[in-house]
Symmetry: C2
Subunit: 198 residues, 2 copies
């Protein structure tokens, strides 16, 4: 079996995307072949455009098209609370809820010795400098509730507490609308641990 | 919450791909932002390149960068057997097995009244002309084993048989390596129906 070169190239590009295997890549490529030419050109332009225009905010590390980002620039947001997240998309997720009115700090990953990611590979040095300089009241650690996220949270707590800053971790427990029966053991155990008086 | 325009545009393009919802689109877009610029430019070029270079073969309807396609041009392939498939990617799937040495005919879809797809929307007229002209011994109908694919197979059998051509359908039954216990009722019933003496 042979692919046409241009098709093979497109498939291999799709295949590099996260969660896209060979079959899905093939499906996406064939879908693109059926799109109007203008649509495909606009897709291609959007790829290059987004990649070239967006960069990391020098203060918080969030993805932005202006430095500092619109959250760091926003005078209405409280500088006393810094929420630490793994990725820029986590900022988007939290902003969607819009309960949090403080600032963010994006680490661009989590500590994962197996993948060779230590504290030096993450945006932690600038967090320390920022905390020392701006003296927030509280640093909320909102890394993911998995092994890497927990390890990162532990590490951050260890280095931030000596600075006299309150360090908190977002709550773990049953997701709202979830079913006790289907919750995994770790989640259930965390939910019990974090119980509150009614 | 607000996205940066260029990011929003990229996300909306990813979201138009089949099987990609809002969350996946967001994930893919953020992944692209982390890729090297050269890689993103090459992805964009591959999109435009594939879409502009590939077209349908005038004989069989298969995706090709030269007309007629490499299968129709191949003198070693038997012209006595035409295998009818729904999509160009089905040709790729069958070619990967490489048991079939005849030619193909790509319908670009299946009959689906609910989606407004009738015989006239498919590449059926040219199949009829081709069959009348080239008088193959057998037309093998390899549309998908679902409602639309079956309806299309029935329709094609009805219009091809009066031309005195043998029309066959690929076999339905248990997939190799599959588990009887997990097979759905239709598949089991088809597997029984199509049983062969040992």
């Amino acid at each position: 079996m042979r692919y046409y070169d241009s098709l093979a190239r497109l498939i291999s590009h799709f295949q590099k995307l996260p969660g896209v295997g060979q079959k899905t890549a093939q499906r996406l490529a064939f879908f693109v072949l059926k799109l109007p030419v203008g649509e495909v050109e606009s897709f291609a332009a959007a790829l290059v455009d987004a990649r070239s225009k967006l960069a990391h905010c020098s203060q918080c590390g969030n993805m932005t098209d202006q430095d500092p980002c619109h959250i760091c620039r926003d005078g209405k947001r409280s500088k006393t609370h810094i929420c630490v997240v793994q990725e820029s998309r986590d900022v988007l997720a939290l902003e969607r809820v819009s309960d949090f009115k403080g600032l963010y700090h994006v680490l661009h990953g989590a500590i994962s010795p197996l993948e060779g990611v230590g504290p030096d590979e993450l945006n932690i040095k600038s967090l320390l400098e920022r905390v020392s300089r701006e003296k927030p009241e509280e640093v909320i650690i909102a890394t993911n509730p998995n092994v890497q996220g927990e390890a990162t949270a532990m590490y951050l707590a260890q280095i931030l507490k000596p600075l006299g800053i309150q360090v908190t971790r977002i709550a773990h427990g049953l997701p709202v609308g979830g079913d006790l029966e289907y919750a995994d053991e770790m989640t259930l155990s965390r939910a019990l641990e974090g119980r509150k008086p009614l």
